[in-house]
Structures are given as C-alpha cells and as structure tokens.
C-alpha cells in the first residue's frame, strides 16, 4: 500500500509550502466550502506560528537586532528543509544546524553566528546530566584522560556573539583573530569562557578519546607550542566547575 494514499490532504504542502495561497486553496474549486478553505488557513497559521515562535524565543538578541530577517530565515528553514525532529524544544537546534549548512544566508555572517550561538542554548541547558563520580576528579595531570560534560560545547566566533549586549547593534566587521569559546550549563544557565586555541584544540581532541598527553603531542606536531603546566592551569576552572573530569 502506498503510504501516501492514506492522505487526501497534502499536509506537507499545507504547512510548509512557500506559497500560502496555493497551499490553502490547493484542491479548491468554486464549490469548495469557504469554511474548508478557512480551516486550511487556520491549520497552516497554527503550525507555522508554533514552529516560528519556538525559534524566535530561543534567540532574543537576533530577534531584537533584525526581526524581519530572522523571520525570513525561519520561513526558509520551514520551506526548504525536511523537519524530522519530534522534540519541540530541539527545533531551534535543528534550525541552527540547517543554517550552518545552508548557503542562503552566508552574506549575513554576524547574524548567522549569533543564531548559531543562541540556538545552541536549549541543547546546552537540556543536555543529559553527567554521571561523574568523585573519583573522576582526581588531581589533573598530563596523563589524565579527560571526560567532558554532556553540556560542554566548543564555539569559534568571529563576531564575539557570546559577548553581545542588550543595547548593541549588529557587528559589521569580524575580529582579527577568532575567539574560542567553551560553553556549558551551570546552575540552570548557559555559562562560557574564552579559551586559547591550543586548549580548544585539546578539548576537541580529548572529546575523541585522546589523553591530555596524546593530545599535546598531536598539537605539537601541528605546530602548537604550549607549556603543559599552562594548559593544565587553563583547564582547572572547568575542572573546578565539574564540566571536565578525568577518566
């Protein structure tokens, strides 16, 4: 049996089609009851409002800075992507993933970076709890193998989106050097710290299973020269907050 044969409404077109008139009048004829056309519009409006509002709510700064463009972006996301996410709270995260891979809005790099940052917050705030135990916080040494909190995320920012303030405008020029940011959940909020490029690389490598020592060796081969004790010292605040542990 053709699975589509069950439906006599094109639900995808009704909600996700770009052309509202076509979507809501799709099969209508002069004899189509106005009430049915109205119902089509109602369903489309309810579904799209619900999907757009969850993204808008996740990115207050982007909404403040350019609400019209944000809505254009969300509408493009709804119309161009295939939404497979059943968890409503994750829709902003999926939107950010789509935006990262989309070519449509690359000419708005600052806003895109800000959206990547803000839309990651639900993922950080709702990340599964860590199952670290006390033994996972033995003194940090070069031989330690790091275990990262489920909420820890690494960002590389050109426009310092993590620092944007409520009264700031959209940045037009990127920083000379990228900013490496480790974000994590603490006390039900998203916290972040800028870190050095070697530490960002170390975190990326250890998340793949390398020990600190192995990661440093790999970094040395890549041309990063950094004192071990400096790296350990830079790790310590995360260790103290228990967003990084040892295994």
């Amino acid at each position: 049996m053709n699975i589509r044969s069950l439906a006599s409404i094109d639900y995808d077109a009704l909600i996700f089609s770009k052309d509202e008139k076509r979507a809501t009048h799709r099969k209508s004829t002069s004899s189509t009851p106005p009430r049915k056309q109205r119902a089509h519009k109602l369903y489309r409006r309810m579904a799209r409002n619900s999907l757009m509002s969850v993204v808008r709510a996740a990115c207050p700064q982007a909404k403040r800075l350019n609400p019209e463009l944000l809505d254009v972006m969300i509408q493009a996301f709804l119309e161009e992507s295939s939404l497979q996410e059943p968890l409503y709270w994750r829709i902003p995260v999926v939107f950010a993933e789509w935006l990262r891979e989309s070519n449509s809005f690359q000419h708005h790099p600052a806003l895109c970076e800000l959206l990547q940052w803000e839309c990651s917050h639900p993922d950080i705030l709702n990340a599964p709890n860590d199952n670290f135990v006390e033994d996972d916080f033995a003194p940090l040494t070069i031989q330690s193998r790091l275990a990262l909190s489920n909420s820890l995320r690494l960002f590389v920012h050109s426009y310092q989106s993590h620092k944007i303030l409520d009264d700031e405008k959209v940045k037009t020029e990127p920083s000379t050097l990228p900013h490496f940011v480790l974000a994590y959940r603490h006390d039900d909020s998203v916290h972040w710290r800028e870190v050095s490029a070697p530490l960002a690389s170390l975190v990326a490598l250890t998340s793949e299973g390398s020990s600190i020592e192995d990661a440093i060796n790999q970094l040395s081969m890549s041309g990063f020269g950094i004192a071990n004790n400096k790296l350990i010292k830079e790790l310590h605040p995360f260790y103290a907050l228990k967003v990084i542990a040892t295994r």
């Binding site: 699975i3 069950l6 439906a7 639900y11 619900s50 059943p86 409503y88 709702n126």
Partner: protein, 299 residues
C-alpha cells in the same frame, strides 16, 4: 483502575474513585511542587514526554521533584499513532526508556496526523476515517504497544474540517480501532463538544457512540469561539459549562478510578484559580458518587 502508586504514600486507590489531576507546565511547575494547597488538591500530573525525553538540568530536576510528590501520567504529541510516517525507532526507543524510568503506567497520544513521511508537523491535523486508515492505525498501535510494554490510549482530537474520503464518523472509527487493536481511549470531552458544534451534530450522540468502558483517562479543558462561531480548542479558558455538563453526562458510564485531567496551555491564570477549577471537578464527581452509592449498595 489507577496508576501505579506503589511507592507513593497517599494510598490514592483506596481513597479516590476519580482522581483529578493537572497538566504540568513549566510556568507553574515549581509552585506545584512547593505549594501545600496544590499538593493537597491535585492527585496526579500529566506531562508531555517530548518535553523531557533525553533531558537533564532543570527539566529533569523538575520532573524528579514532581515525581516525589505526585504520580505521573504521560500524554504524547508526536507519536504518529496513525502510522502515516515510517515508524520512528529512535523516538519509541527513547519513549520506552522514559516510560520505564519514570514508572508511567500507560502511554496516550492523539488520533490525528502529526507526521508525514517527509516532516514532523508539530500540529494536530485531522485524518481520514476509512478502512485503509483503520488498518494502518491498528498495525501501528499494536506495534507501539508491543514495544512500550504498557497500554496505549488514543485521544479523540478537535478538528476544524473533515478530510475528503472519510466514510465513517470519528466515534465509529475509534470503536473499531479499540476493538481491533486492544488499545484504550483517552476521552477529551472538550474535543467532543468542539467537534459537535463545528460540524453540527449532537455531542451527546458522540458520547453515546464511544466505547466508554475503554476510557483510561479523561481530559477537560476550555475553548474559544471565533466571530463566525467556529470553536477553537485553545485550552485558554476555564471549562465551558456545556462541556462540564457533557462530562457529567458521561461520568456514570466511566469506570470508577478513571483519572480526570484539567488542561490549561494558554492565558494560564494563577495556580489558585486552577485549583478552584479542580475543586469544582471534584465536587461534581463527589456528588455523582454520593448519588450512585445506593445503586452500588443494592447491586
């Protein structure tokens, strides 16, 4: 019938014939847990599993704290019990883990279109009521019941249009579905009323046609009326008097112990107002129980 309260101290089963609960919403979650009056008034909470599956942090903590105070029931949103989209193994695997972790006695979701093969719609759209849909629903629900290992219930939904090609009414479709799949019914009284008004039939006839012995849970909520008379199931007002009277009409035929839930999702008032509404529901149930006692004693 009652939810598993083995590790709760309240002994609800022996004290309450129709427990009355409230849908947990983040806006008043903390108050529900900390407010003694709420704890005294509310018998259980209902949650949308999609709001908690796979989460830690605040959501997980709220749920843990709520579970310490109230029994929990789940009511899903995007399970696609009608099987229009391919079976989502990942979703049901997570759901099963969730249901067993939180000791949830059954799973309910809406009898409507929530997914297509291409998209998760995040909306409740009307389905076609015909033999082909019925066959697919039966297969899907049996598969879900097998996987979850707990009873599955379908909720009758509100609708604003009929889908072309429907050859039976919703009540007939639900009766057949229950008979063939062995699932249960989550009876939403407000939805019965809204549909009756929107489609011009008698709500009491729908209640009469539904298999009320299979009702595992009841939903009560408010709705809003548009200028042209269209009723919208917004959960944004107190329960309408007509809906309440329809509930009282159905009550004598429900199995004793069926949990009754008040839903509120929009224009949420202070918790004290919701508690008063719960008191009203309970008073109605108590009056019915008092009136039915002689009948019970004589039988």
């Amino acid at each position: 019938m009652w939810i598993d309260s083995a590790d709760m101290d309240q002994g609800i089963e022996s004290q309450l014939d129709f427990p009355v609960g409230l849908g947990l919403r983040f806006s008043f979650a903390r108050e529900l847990i900390e407010n003694d009056e709420a704890v005294k008034t509310i018998d259980f909470l209902e949650i949308a599993p999609e709001n908690y599956i796979g989460t830690g942090g605040f959501r997980h903590r709220i749920l843990s704290q709520a579970r310490n105070v109230y029994p929990l029931l789940t009511h899903g949103l995007m399970g696609d019990l009608i099987g229009l989209a391919p079976f989502d193994e990942g979703y049901f695997s997570q759901l099963k883990e969730f249901i067993h972790e939180w000791n949830i006695p059954w799973f309910s979701d809406h009898l409507c279109v929530t997914r297509t093969p291409s998209n998760v719609l995040h909306e409740l759209l009307p389905m076609r009521f015909d033999g082909e849909s019925l066959k697919r629903c039966v297969e899907r629900i049996q598969r879900v019941q097998d996987i979850l290992g707990v009873p599955v219930a379908v909720e009758n939904v509100s609708a604003y249009m009929r889908v072309e090609g429907s050859i039976m009414d919703e009540a007939h479709f639900i009766s057949e579905l229950i008979a063939q799949s062995g699932c249960q019914l989550l009876l939403d009284i407000n939805n019965v009323y809204v549909n009756a008004k929107n489609f011009g039939h008698r709500a009491h006839d729908t209640i009469d046609a539904l298999p009320l012995r299979n009702v595992i849970q009841v939903h009560l909520a408010g709705h809003e009326v548009e200028d042209d008379g269209l009723r919208l199931d917004t959960h944004g007002t107190p329960i309408h008097q007509n809906v309440f009277e329809l509930f009282q009409y159905a009550l004598p035929r429900l199995v004793h112990g069926t949990p009754i839930l008040l839903e509120r999702d929009k224009a949420i008032p202070p918790l004290s107002e919701l508690l008063l509404e719960i008191d009203t529901i309970r008073a109605s149930v108590s009056a019915f129980m008092r009136d039915s006692l002689p009948t019970k004693n004589s039988s």
